[in-house]
């Protein structure tokens, strides 16, 4: 059997059920692909060959993803495997425990093949702030794959893994999925345990699947979702069988289209692709409704107060005492903290720590942080009102296709604005997915974002699957 790496998880499961294909054969084929391609794509922070081979040997057939190679973003703890958030400050850190999602995947029989490159501590939209260097977009190696889960998305697009996990704080799963032409889902805040996810902004972070198609996303989310007593913000609700939502029937589903997402700044070809996609949904029997989310224009500002504020607090733990880098030249402890942090953090991490610390400091707390929390309420209320008249909301995922490496590195605000369409779902805690919906004239993928009410991932799967099965965008692969 050739080209096992190019199949989806559900295709491989079918194959394993009907013919003698061993998990080690799938792994071997995927690792061969990694060896052939990752020198130019650089999607991996770490390839764990031995661990993966051992997992194959013990993989039992019963699990939903047993025998399927999975790539983990480098901010998700895997016991004994270097986990660095692509930062110098965590070089050499081997967690003594598994994240809950890691444990669930292992128990299911999945084969963890290594760690995906990312923006340092997930701070970025381009995968350029990694201490390992930039990941390349498989569709055009001179362009960024998106971020921060750029390694996960690029690896899935290049068939260097079957599925991957990412994390999403302001769009870090959906934007790279859109830019790499794959499926990426941020579940509802509280749907998936964050235990063992190295925290960026605790009120916004969620782990989610990055896959080649919608069905694989439904399988992977089914394995990782659910309540966990190790994360007090994980919600105790039953996890539905998401594959049951893949019905292709969306007759009568009310699809909201917010006018505020189609304004200045959006690329013409992105707008065209998304409008055509909305036409497809209409042809499938959905009812398309014009809606308004009036505070959309304030979401980026709100996020760039709340995100850095929480990050500056979460990153206080990296001080050279318990793990990772330590500068040993300082004579006293404050000097040790300061030198370790100054050496260990990259430029964007420092910028966000400074911004967050400023917004939380005495005299500025009310003007910035508290103000942002109040505007967050207004953004959430926009969605509450919108969902009175629609079942889901569709928008572009990213205002532009993948930009060139280096294009936005000197302009933080331009970089931040690439998350303008994805941030609101994090602030409101909503589930949201990006699926492929077209290509630019230059051959770069375009993503369609689908958002739904909290804990209504089923609606997203239903709409996404109906669209996917009536189009061919998800079948296109980059020429590599």
């Amino acid at each position: 059997m050739e080209n096992l790496h190019s199949l989806t998880a559900h295709e491989l499961k079918e194959l394993m059920a009907s013919s003698p294909v061993e998990p080690s054969k799938i792994l071997g084929d995927v690792l061969k692909r990694v060896d052939a391609l990752d020198g130019k794509i650089r999607a991996f922070a770490l390839v764990n060959r031995d661990g993966a081979r051992k997992a194959c040997a013990s993989a039992k057939g019963g699990g939903r993803l047993s025998g399927i190679p999975v790539l983990m973003k480098d901010n998700i703890c895997v016991a004994g495997e270097e986990t660095t958030c692509a930062s110098r400050i965590l070089k050499g850190f081997k967690p003594p425990y598994d994240a809950t999602v890691t444990r669930k995947l292992k128990e299911d029989g999945a084969v963890l093949i290594g760690k995906a490159n990312m923006d340092e501590f997930a701070f970025g939209s381009s995968c350029e702030t990694s201490c390992y260097g930039a990941t390349r977009n498989p569709w055009d190696l001179d362009r960024i794959p998106g971020g921060s889960s750029g390694g996960s998305a690029a690896a899935v697009a290049a068939d260097e893994t079957i599925v991957a996990l990412g994390s999403d704080t302001g769009g870090s799963i959906r934007q790279p999925a859109a830019l790499c032409g794959v499926v990426g889902m941020k579940p509802t805040y509280g749907r998936v345990s964050r235990y063992g996810l190295i925290a960026f902004a605790s009120s916004l972070d969620q782990i989610g699947p990055i896959t080649k198609d919608v069905k694989d996303a439904s399988l992977l989310l089914g394995v990782i979702a659910g309540h966990d007593e190790m994360d007090s913000t994980s919600v105790d609700l039953p996890v539905p069988d998401y594959t049951k939502s893949l019905t292709k029937d969306i007759k009568g589903v009310r699809v909201g289209v917010p006018k505020e997402y189609f304004v200045k700044g959006i690329d013409r070809e992105v707008e065209d692709s998304v409008k055509k996609a909305i036409g497809v949904l209409k042809d499938l029997g959905a009812e398309v409704i014009d809606i308004s989310l009036p505070h959309t224009g304030y979401a980026v500002s709100t996020y760039y107060i709340i995100g850095p504020a929480e990050a500056s607090s979460n990153l206080a733990r990296f001080d050279g005492v318990q793990y990772g880098l330590r500068d040993s030249t300082a004579k006293d402890i404050i000097g040790m903290y300061t030198r370790t942090r100054s050496e260990g953090f990259g430029d964007e991490a420092k910028r966000r720590i400074l911004l967050g610390t400023y917004c939380l400091s005495a005299g500025y707390y009310d003007a910035y942080y508290l103000k942002a929390l109040k505007v967050r309420t207004k953004i959430r209320e926009d969605f509450d009102n919108a969902f009175k008249s629609c079942d889901c909301i569709v928008t572009p995922t990213s205002p532009t296709p993948a930009f060139r490496i280096g294009e936005k590195t000197d302009d933080p605000i331009a970089m931040y604005l690439s998350d303008v369409y994805t941030i609101p779902a994090n602030l409101a805690g909503l589930p949201a997915m990006s699926i492929p919906c077209g290509f630019s004239s230059g051959g770069l993928p375009v993503g369609l974002q689908i958002m739904a009410k909290p804990f209504d991932e089923e609606m997203i799967f239903r709409v996404a699957y109906a669209f996917e099965q009536s189009t061919d965008f998800h079948k296109k692969r980059p020429r590599l």
Binding site: G297, G324, D332, I333, I353, T357, P412, I413
Partner: protein, 99 residues
């Protein structure tokens, strides 16, 4: 809202335990000023009567569990990643001034 001058950047860097050289201070003060100007857009909104949202889970109240003993990391495992350790503790440079 105010912009951010070099002395403020130095103060915030001290609070953040970051050492910045002069060129970094200049660059961050310029970049943070432009970010803060962008962010100040929020002042257009009247939020006098709007309650703050600190997290997205509306129904979540305090989460309690039984105070019972469970297995946890051994001292050895907890210290495994420590840059310096001694006698079952994390070892750090001098904290209290003395001789």
């Amino acid at each position: 809202m105010s912009t951010i001058d070099k002395d403020t950047v130095k103060h915030v860097a001290m609070l953040s335990r970051l050492a910045l050289d002069d060129s970094e201070i200049a660059a961050y003060s310029r970049q943070l000023a432009s970010i803060l100007t962008y962010i100040s857009k929020l002042n257009e909104l009247d939020t006098k009567d709007t309650p703050p949202t600190s997290h997205a889970l509306r129904t979540l109240k305090n989460v309690f569990r039984k105070d019972s003993t469970k297995p946890s990391l051994s001292v050895e495992e907890a210290l495994k990643n420590a840059p310096a350790k001694e006698g079952g503790f994390f070892k750090v440079p001098q904290v209290i001034e003395g001789k």
